[in-house]
Symmetry: C2
Subunit: 267 residues, 2 copies
C-alpha cells in the first residue's frame, strides 16, 4: 500500500493530525526531566506511548536527536520502532537536500530498509527540484513519501520562496507544479509538500495538486485547524496539520497530552 | 583562534585542499571492503590515517554515515576525533537548514560542544539566509565556521540559484552579499560560501566577499586546481577546493592516496 493510501486510511479514523516530537530545552523543562539523553528518551517515548493510538502520524525533528550524536540517533531509532510497531506513521523532519550519490545515500538512509527507515521525510530544494529525484524514485519504489519544502511561514521564508526561478516562475509555485506533475504522472502521490499554515497570503495555486500537504505551525505558532479551511480553500489535497509544542508542553501526563490533542483539533 | 585563521594557518603550509570522505558503494568496492559498517569505518579511518598530515581539512559527507543509523554516526564521531587529534580541520557536509529552535539545535549539534562538534558545517538557505542566523551566531561565538550553499554546479543547480529573490536580486548573489555583509561587520569571516568549480559562468560577483569558498567538484567531476584561478579570478577569498572520489578511489594504500592528492594539486 502506498504511503499516501496508508495516510488516507489512518486519517479516515483518527483525523490527519501529526504530532511533532521536538524535545527542545523548554519541552524537557515542562516535563520535569533533565536536559540530557535520558530526558530526550523520556519525552520521545512518553509522547508516543500516550498518543500512539490517538494520532495518524508523528513528526520527530531530527535536529533534537542529532544534537546528542550517535546516542541521540539511537533514541530516534527506538522512537521510530515504537511508533511503527503501534501502527502509526513516521514523517521524519530532516530537510535533507543534496545531489547525485549523496542524495541517493540520504534516500537510502530514510526511505530504504536501514535502521532509520521511516514512512516519509521532509526534503529541501535549494539545489533544484530535480536534484531530489533519487528520493522521489526510492519513495515511489518503496511505498514511502517525501514532503518537499515549498512555502514556509517564517519571517525570512519569502526571501527565496516568493522570488522567481531562472525561468521566471515564482519559486514556491514551481515546487508545487513539479510535485503536481510527478504525482499525476505516477498516480502514486508520493510527493508531498510543506506549506506553512500561518502565512496569510500563500500566493501559490494548489488547485491542481494531488497528494498531501504537511502544514507546520499549528498551535503556539498561531495556526488553528479551523483556519486551515480558508487558507487552503482551493485545494482538495489531504492536509496534515502538524502541532508540536502546544501538545508536548502538556506532558508528561498521558491524559493531559491526549487532551491537548483534542484542544488543538477543536481550535 | 577563529576558524578562518586556523584555516589560513594550516593552508599556508599544506595548501588549502580539502579531502571529501564520501564512502559510497563505488569507493568501498575500490578499497576491496564489504559494503557494511566495517567497510565504512575502514575507508573513513584509513583515509584520515593516510592523509591526516598531508591536507588542511577533511569534509566527511554525513549522508554516507547516516545511512547506517546510529552505528554509522558513531563511526563519524570516531572519524571526527581522529582528524582533530591530528590537528586537521573538519568541515562536515550536512547541508542543514531550518528555523528557530530547530536551527538552534542543528547549530548546537555541530558547532557546540557535543559528540559531533566540528570546525565548520555546510548549510542550506531555502528558508531564507536569515533563518540560518542561529548557526552564524554560534559559529562566531565558538570560533567555528559555516559554508552557505550559494551556487552549485549540478545541472538543476541554476533553477533556483540563478533566479531572483523577492527583492529582485539574483538568488546566489543575495547569498554572497549577505555573507559579505556579515563577515565585514564582524571581522571574523565565519561565513563561508559553497560555490561549484565546474560551472563555466558563475554569474556572481565575489569581488567584495571576504572569507573562504568551499569549491566541490575537483577531480572526477571535471574541475582542476589550475582552472580555479580563472573561475575565481575576481576574488581574493581563500579557495578550499574539495576532492573526493578522485582521491578515495586510489585507496586503501596510504602512499597511493597521498600520490592521488599530489596529482590533484598538480591538475
Amino acid at each position: 500500500m502506498t504511503f499516501h493510501d496508508r495516510l488516507l486510511a489512518r486519517a479516515s479514523s483518527l483525523g490527519s493530525i501529526c504530532v511533532g516530537i521536538d524535545p527542545h530545552p523548554g519541552v524537557m523543562d515542562a516535563w520535569g526531566v533533565s536536559y540530557d539523553l535520558a530526558g530526550l528518551e523520556r519525552v520521545a517515548m512518553g509522547t508516543v506511548e500516550a498518543l500512539g493510538d490517538h494520532v495518524t502520524a508523528f513528526k520527530p525533528q531530527s535536529a533534537f536527536f542529532e544534537q546528542w550524536g550517535s546516542a541521540g540517533i539511537a533514541v530516534l531509532e527506538r522512537c521510530i520502532t515504537e511508533i511503527r510497531s503501534g501502527g502509526g506513521l513516521v514523517i521524519l523532519d530532516v530537510k535533507r537536500g543534496d545531489i547525485g550519490s549523496t542524495m541517493e545515500a540520504y534516500a537510502q538512509a530514510y526511505l530504504g530498509e536501514g535502521p532509520l527507515s521511516v514512512d516519509a521525510i521532509t526534503i529541501s530544494p535549494y539545489l533544484g527540484f530535480g536534484s531530489l529525484t533519487p528520493a522521489f524514485d526510492l519513495a515511489e519504489a518503496n511505498d514511502r513519501g517525501v514532503y518537499v519544502l515549498a512555502r514556509t511561514s517564517n519571517p525570512e521564508g519569502g526571501d527565496i520562496q516568493l522570488g522567481s526561478t531562472s525561468l521566471g516562475t515564482p519559486v514556491a509555485q514551481s515546487i508545487v507544479d513539479n510535485a503536481t506533475q510527478r504525482n499525476h504522472s505516477t498516480g502514486l502521490d508520493a510527493i508531498g509538500l510543506v506549506v506553512g499554515g500561518t502565512h496569510e497570503t500563500l500566493r501559490i495555486d494548489l488547485s491542481w495538486y494531488s497528494g498531501s500537504i504537511l502544514v507546520p505551525g499549528i498551535g503556539v505558532q498561531g495556526g488553528t485547524i479551523s483556519g486551515l479551511a480558508s487558507s487552503f480553500a482551493e485545494t482538495s489535497a489531504l492536509l496534515v496539520p502538524s502541532v508540536s509544542r502546544e501538545v508536548l508542553n502538556a506532558g508528561p501526563n498521558p491524559q493531559a497530552l491526549q487532551e491537548a490533542v483534542e484542544r488543538v483539533l477543536a481550535s
